[in-house]
Structure formats: structure tokens, C-alpha cells
């Protein structure tokens, strides 16, 4: 273990490296730039490759190709860059190319406010691409968690053959904390399923028969006829993937499988922290940095005799409705603090539909953190 004062963006970088990423293509953007900077320095040190791209589309294209050769690959960006990446993000998900993309969220729409922080891309992460693609999105709260969760993101992307987004925030990427980093050799890594048959018996990269299947993928250059398709429709049982001749059944099967392969492993990938929810009459549900203010508010509320609890969402997508329901079993009210106008509140509302539990938000879009005091104020209001 090495104790270091580590920048959040450096923690993302080290998490990628510890997770086995050896190809990074990037384009700088505040507040994610330090990730590209660190990767440009670190990739050559660990035998990997860093490519400075001309833009975010180039970054995505480069990592799609690199991952197809079997090298774990990643990039990072912020809001406007993530908007540009949506086409390739969707294509990578349907082509089932394992990738990690880190979004260090800045504030606001459009170009937004580059140096300020926000949590406005919960819905973009899930619904930004066309054509009903699924999403796996993880959100760390602290610098130390930024490291470990990025390792997990790489592992999940390999296990599921999909893109995993790590949803960071400017105020985490540009935060420093003392962190004990482990010896990377001690970390357990996942590998994508690869063909167990000889090249002449290989039925292609989409040989799936059940909805939960994650089919083997052959590395480009390994001697297999390996074709990756961003069409998004493949034949049940593998084989020819040209669009011509594909049936309605193939389309139905493919789209459902892209979701089901993730949902069938939901227990493995749903990460959360549950604090004092057992007897909680008020539950704070939050993610990312703002969950820390929620935990602070919970301690203050308990000190005042209010039975408060916290559900900290670490896996944001697939959204853990069942966990939300379990944690709110005794709740009269739920407060959702988030630095947007209520994106997670909407999901919580859906999860708790018809329960009679009152659901309110504490929302800021001025880039200033929600304080424990604000959450407490809302608590008193909602319980009165």
C-alpha cells in the first residue's frame, strides 16, 4: 500500500490502469483533462498506448478499434464531449465491445460552465443514444472510491461485453484526498469471454442462444473471422450477420438480449451503501458527491432524534428499484438531494409508485454543493 495525496482524476486514471486498461485515446476537456494528462504519462510506463485524438468522436472510434483487438480500452470526457460521443457509445453497446468511458460532469447544458460541477447527466447516460440500448453506470462519491469503482467498471465491461460509464463530477475529479493504493497485482481482474473453439468452428462474435448469453468475442488478429457489427441486429445462434435475411425474431432477440444479459447479472453489478435504513422514517437517496452531504445530514438528524437513513446509489444504471423499495420499507418520506432538477427523484418516484411515501427533492443547479443543513431543513418541512 502506498499512501498518497491523490487527485480524483488521477484516481480514475490509476483505476483504469489497475483494471488492466492499456489503451487510452483522449481529447482534453475541463474538468476531465487531468485524466488524459495522467494517462499520457502513465500508459508508456505500463506498456500501454496513449493517443491524443482530434476530438471526442475520434477518441471513441480509436478505443472501439483497440478493444476489438483484445486490449482493454478507455476514454474520458465531460458533458459536451459526452454529447458528441453518443453515436459511438450506442454502436459500441450494440456491437458488444467492452469499453469504459469516464464522464467528469461539468455544469449546465450546451458548453455549460467548464470549471463548475454538476450531476446533470443521469438521464443522458441511459438515454443519450438511439435505439433502446441499455446502460451500466457507476457513480463514485470519494477519491478512494473513484479508484476502486473504475477497476470495477473495467471488470463489468469485460464480463458483460458492454460499455460501462463511470459518472464522475468536477468536484470529485478536482478533489484530493489521502488514499492508500493497493498493489495492482493483487487485484482480481475479469476478462471478456473468448472463443473456446478452433477458428474454423467459430460462428462469429454474436453466437447467442439464450437472452442472458454474453457470447465469446474473438480478438482481431487472433486468427478468427471476427466481425463486429454496429447494426444492432444479429442472428440467433450466430453466423452471418449481414442485415439482409435477418428476421423480426432476430431483431427482437438481439434487442432483448442486450438488456437481459445485464439484468440477469444485476445482483453482481448493483452496488449501494445502506445506512440506518432499517428503522428510518425518512430516507435520503443520493449518488455521487451529494450522497456525502446526505450522510452528514443523516448524522445531524439522528442527533436530533429524527430517524433518518441513507441509500447511497453507487450503481445508478440499471436503476435498483428493488433496493429503493427495501430501504424505504418503513419510510414516511424520501428526500432526494441532487445537483440537477430531479432526475433521480423521477426514478425513485417510479420505484415507489403507489406506496404513499412522500418524495421530495433538494435540487441545485448553481454548481454549489447541497449542504447537510439544506437537507435537514427539507426533512423538517416534509415531516411536519
Amino acid at each position: 500500500m502506498t499512501k498518497r495525496l491523490l487527485l480524483g482524476n488521477d484516481a480514475f486514471c490509476e483505476g483504469l490502469i489497475a483494471g488492466g486498461v492499456r489503451f487510452y485515446a483522449g481529447y482534453p476537456i475541463t474538468p476531465a483533462t487531468e485524466i488524459a494528462e495522467a494517462m499520457s504519462r502513465r500508459m508508456p510506463e505500463v506498456g500501454g498506448t496513449y493517443v491524443q485524438m482530434e476530438d471526442e468522436l475520434g477518441s471513441m472510434g480509436a478505443i472501439m478499434g483497440a478493444s476489438a483487438t483484445g486490449v482493454k480500452s478507455a476514454t474520458a470526457s465531460a458533458g459536451p464531449g459526452m454529447a458528441l460521443m453518443q453515436n459511438e457509445l450506442g454502436q459500441s453497446i450494440v456491437a458488444e465491445i467492452p469499453l469504459v468511458v469516464i464522464n467528469v460532469q461539468r455544469a449546465g447544458p450546451g458548453i455549460g460552465n467548464a470549471t463548475r460541477s454538476g450531476q446533470m447527466e443521469v438521464m443522458q447516460s441511459r438515454y443519450g443514444s438511439n435505439g433502446e440500448v441499455p446502460a451500466v453506470v457507476l457513480s463514485p462519491s470519494s477519491v478512494e472510491e473513484a479508484f476502486w469503482l473504475t477497476v470495477k467498471a473495467v471488470n463489468f465491461s469485460e464480463m458483460l461485453r458492454t460499455v460501462v460509464i463511470v459518472l464522475g463530477e468536477g468536484m470529485l475529479g478536482l478533489q484530493r484526498a489521502v488514499v492508500d493504493l493497493p498493489d495492482y497485482d493483487d487485484i482480481k481482474l475479469a476478462e471478456r469471454p473468448r472463443p473456446s473453439v478452433q477458428p474454423d468452428e467459430f460462428l462469429g462474435n454474436y453466437n447467442a442462444n439464450a437472452l442472458s448469453d454474453v457470447p465469446p468475442i474473438a480478438d482481431f488478429g487472433a486468427g478468427y473471422k471476427s466481425i463486429l457489427s454496429s447494426v444492432g441486429i444479429s442472428r440467433r445462434g450466430g453466423g452471418d450477420i449481414s442485415v439482409l435475411g435477418l428476421s423480426e425474431d432476430d431483431q427482437d432477440f438481439t434487442i432483448r438480449r442486450l438488456h437481459q444479459k445485464i439484468l440477469d447479472r444485476k445482483n453482481e453489478i448493483t452496488l449501494f451503501e445502506q445506512l440506518m435504513t432499517e428503522d428510518a422514517e425518512i430516507v435520503y437517496i443520493a449518488f455521487g458527491t451529494q450522497a456525502l452531504s446526505a450522510i452528514g445530514a443523516m448524522h445531524e438528524a439522528r442527533a436530533k432524534g429524527i430517524k433518518a437513513g441513507v441509500l447511497r446509489l453507487i450503481t445508478v444504471w440499471p436503476f435498483p428499484e428493488d433496493i429503493v423499495r427495501t430501504c424505504c420499507a418503513k419510510a414516511r418520506a424520501v428526500v432526494v438531494p441532487e445537483m440537477n432538477l430531479g432526475q433521480v427523484r423521477l426514478l425513485v418516484g417510479s420505484a415507489l409508485a403507489n406506496t404513499g411515501i412522500k418524495i421530495v427533492g433538494v435540487n441545485r443547479v448553481d454548481s454549489i454543493t447541497i449542504t447537510p443543513a439544506q437537507i435537514l431543513e427539507k426533512t423538517k418541512e416534509v415531516l411536519s
Partner: protein
């Protein structure tokens, strides 16, 4: 016990750097739990800039500095921006050239006037006024010895080492003019 520190000024004065060096000193040279955060305007040079440090002997849950126990203010705008966050019992170190009006602090806030920019000029490099402020801070709070803060400056600001260390020492040895708000 949790303590909150804020360095505030305008972009290019090195306020974020100050907070990083202090976090290194408290978290690595000493053995406190530390979180450092920062805020700066998109204009960067000349815009508002702040570097915050929260430290404790216990795990830090909420990383944000909301009510600093110590504020180092290197510009009048910083006083204007952060005065309201300061509570009675807290203290402020203000630069005696860059700041002239401290009437916005409430009663009970102790104000120390320190010649940080002037001492940096004496060293011949105004931009190391931030390092002077670290010296003033270390001595005034008694949190760090000159040797401890020196180790952090060496680790985090290795360039211009001679100038920086001279500035740090001048700050550490300065006599402060102190008034109560």
C-alpha cells in the same frame, strides 16, 4: 476534531496550490485525514479562486468546507465573497496590501493583517506571496512546524525551491498586526 481552512484570492495567486501543499503537509507529513477541494472561475487568471482543506483525526464524511475556521484572504474580492461564511471564533489572515476593508466580517472573527505580498516582493517574486501565507498560517495556527510545512512545499512545489523556502521562512517569522472584528 474537524477543522476547515480556506485560501481565497484571484486566479493566478496560487490559492489552489496553497491548499494542495497544506493538504500534503497535514495528510502525508502529519497523519491527519484530509480532503482538499477547489473552486475557480472559468476565466481562471483574474477570476475568483479558492482552495479548501478539511482535516480531522477521524474519517471525513462531508468533504466540503462550509464555515472555515481559518480563512486566508489575498484579495478584497475574496473578503467580499467569503466574509458571510465566517462564524464567531474563526480567524482570518488578510493581505495588508491587497485587502483594505474588513468591515464585512461579523463580530467575533479575529483578523490578522499580514504583509504577505510585501514579503514576496522582498524576496523578489510576488507570485510566492501564497507560500508566504503558508508560513504565516503554520506559525499562527501552530498546526505545523517550519520543518513540516517545508517538507510539503518541497514535495508539491519543487520549482524555484530557494525562492519558495525563503518566502516560507519570512512568512513563518513575521509579526502580525491583530485586531478583532
Amino acid at each position: 476534531m474537524r477543522t476547515e481552512i480556506r485560501f481565497a484570492g484571484v486566479g493566478s495567486q496560487g490559492m489552489v496550490s496553497c491548499s494542495v501543499i497544506l493538504a500534503e503537509a497535514l495528510g502525508i507529513v502529519k497523519d491527519y485525514q484530509v480532503v482538499q477541494t477547489q473552486e475557480y472561475a472559468a476565466s481562471i487568471s483574474g477570476g475568483s479562486a479558492q482552495g479548501d482543506v478539511a482535516f480531522s483525526d477521524q474519517k471525513i464524511i462531508v468533504p466540503w468546507v462550509l464555515h472555515p475556521d481559518v480563512l486566508v484572504a489575498m484579495a478584497q474580492d475574496a473578503v467580499k465573497q467569503h466574509a458571510a461564511a465566517m462564524r464567531p471564533g474563526s480567524c482570518v489572515i488578510v493581505d495588508d496590501i491587497m485587502v483594505n476593508d474588513v468591515s464585512s466580517f461579523q463580530k467575533g472573527v479575529t483578523i490578522h493583517w499580514a504583509p504577505m505580498t510585501k514579503l514576496a516582493d522582498d524576496v523578489g517574486f510576488r507570485k510566492c506571496a501564497n507560500i508566504v501565507s503558508l508560513g504565516v498560517f503554520a506559525r499562527l495556527t501552530g498546526l505545523l512546524t517550519l520543518d513540516e510545512i517545508t517538507r510539503a512545499v518541497r514535495a508539491r512545489a519543487p520549482g524555484r525551491a530557494e525562492t519558495n523556502l525563503k518566502a516560507l521562512r519570512l512568512g513563518y517569522e513575521v509579526n502580525l498586526g491583530t485586531v478583532a472584528a
